[in-house]
């Protein structure tokens, strides 16, 4: 059986799947990051309605499995007559999921900036937006870099869930190959290595950034 699949053919297919894992991860990073910023600003705005809304948003996406979120987007929307492809459902689901987590991570970073920084900048007559832009966010950003990149590793691994709604990324490619070759151990071993190769550089980068920004205070 294996004779039909040379190791190079296997690797080639897995690489094709990995490409979609990377694409999905990138979309989740970028769109999730932008949406996360919006949620963050709502969350720390101090305005009651915005705080409640953003809190609810974060709780919903943190308190339910990513898989359920994908199911609801994928099956729920098609029941409502909106035709959603697996690709779109995965991209939207991961974006929402990522935005909720990033907003919460970043909220912690904003709140880690000492109260004295708010008071000093307020005393200098800066308004809320100016305080955020010139004093609080630059400091929060330094604190945020390492945990953010660290969370992105989680996002890369979370894209595997998209395989369940039929999106052909790395994991889905792996299961199809495993079914065809009857070599699940080999195939999923390769899949695991591929995930590791994607994630490990990110982890290293997170550590590097942590040292770098720690040193530059």
């Amino acid at each position: 059986m294996l004779t039909q699949f040379s190791i190079w053919a296997l690797l080639d297919s897995l690489a094709e799947g990995a490409k979609w894992t990377v694409a999905l991860s990138l979309i989740a990073f970028v769109c999730g990051g932008i949406a996360g910023l919006v949620v963050l600003f709502a969350r720390v705005s101090g305005k009651r309605a915005l705080t409640v809304l953003s809190k609810a948003y974060i709780e919903v996406f943190q308190g339910t499995p990513l898989l359920m979120q994908l199911f609801i987007i994928f099956f729920g929307l098609s029941m409502l007559g909106v035709d959603v492809s697996a690709w779109l459902a995965a991209a939207v689901g991961l974006t929402l999921f990522t935005s909720a987590y990033l907003a919460e991570i970043w909220r912690g970073c904003v709140e880690a900036v000492p109260k004295g920084q708010w008071e000093a900048s307020a005393s200098l007559a800066l308004n809320y937006r100016e305080q955020m832009r010139h004093v609080v966010l630059p400091q929060a950003l330094r604190i945020a870099i390492a945990p953010t990149v660290g969370f992105l590793v989680q996002v890369v691994k979370s894209t595997a869930v998209a395989s369940i709604i039929g999106f052909t990324e790395l994991t889905k490619t792996g299961s199809m190959l495993a079914n065809a070759t009857f070599q699940p151990f080999l195939i999923f071993g390769l899949v695991a290595i591929a995930y590791f190769l994607l994630c490990y550089p990110l982890s290293l980068y997170a550590r590097h950034l942590e040292t770098k920004y720690h040193a530059a205070r």
Partner: protein, 242 residues
């Protein structure tokens, strides 16, 4: 018309009635020392004057800008009132020069070059011109506090609030900060300071205010009050701290 005027100012934190009706007049050029035990409301009083604490009742006017019941034109008020904190609160991600220039550029829309000149002038005044490009964590506590003073002065405030500005300093660094404050007082800057430095309050201040249980318990000329406190509470307090 006094520069700073408070009438019947009340402030409550939850069930804690911190300010119970404060009347206070500060004239231009006054150097006011606020003293009292911790919890007497002296820091809260100071913080109401630039709107860091809203007031629940009463009236606050600084140089013609009124702030009633916690609302008013905070931005205008705060350009007239500078503040220096116990913990310095310099912006750690900015250089000393950028710390001093930030509000000039952002709030007053001063051009970069001009803001730089003002920052250099202010740093020269506090004796730290050569630290323009240093970061706050490269400075000693006393130097950081002097930068904080320069940062507040750069906005050309009408009155400078000092909230226990030497309390977080090592003893050997206290004098360099007090020397700067003394110099400001001599130049005619209006100062309101919460302080534990009784000798400094006596020597530099022209008004002493003793806070007790959320009220101004006694006020007057420092030398006289220190020599002959009018109430047993002030006498006790002076006895306890000196």
């Amino acid at each position: 018309m006094p520069l700073v005027k408070l009438r019947g100012v009340h402030k409550t934190f939850g069930s804690n009635h911190v300010l119970k009706g404060i009347d206070l007049d500060v004239e231009a050029g006054d150097v006011v020392a606020l003293i009292g035990r911790s919890g007497s409301g002296k820091s809260t009083l100071l913080r109401t004057i630039n709107g860091l604490e809203s007031i629940d009742r009463g009236e606050l006017v600084v140089d013609g800008v009124a702030l009633d019941d916690g609302f008013g034109d905070l931005r205008t008020l705060r350009q007239k009132v500078g503040m220096v904190f116990q913990q310095f609160n310099l912006f750690p991600h900015l250089t000393v020069g950028e710390n001093v220039m930030l509000a000039l550029k952002v709030v007053k829309k001063t051009a970069h070059a001009e803001a730089g000149d003002i920052a250099k002038e202010m740093l020269l005044k506090v004796g730290l011109a050569e630290k323009f490009s240093a970061y706050p964590d490269q400075l000693s506590g006393g130097q950081q506090q002097r930068v904080a003073i320069a940062r507040a002065l750069a906005m050309r405030p009408r009155v400078l609030l000092c909230d226990e500005i030497t309390s977080a300093l090592d003893p050997e660094l206290v004098n360099e900060v007090l020397a700067v404050v003394r110099q400001l007082a001599e130049e005619g800057m209006t100062l309101i300071m919460v302080t534990h430095e009784m000798r400094f309050a006596r020597e530099v201040g022209n008004k002493l205010i003793f806070m007790h249980h959320g009220l101004i318990h006694e006020s007057g000329v420092p030398r006289q009050l220190f020599a002959e406190p009018g109430t047993p509470e002030l006498a006790n307090f002076i006895g306890a701290v000196s």
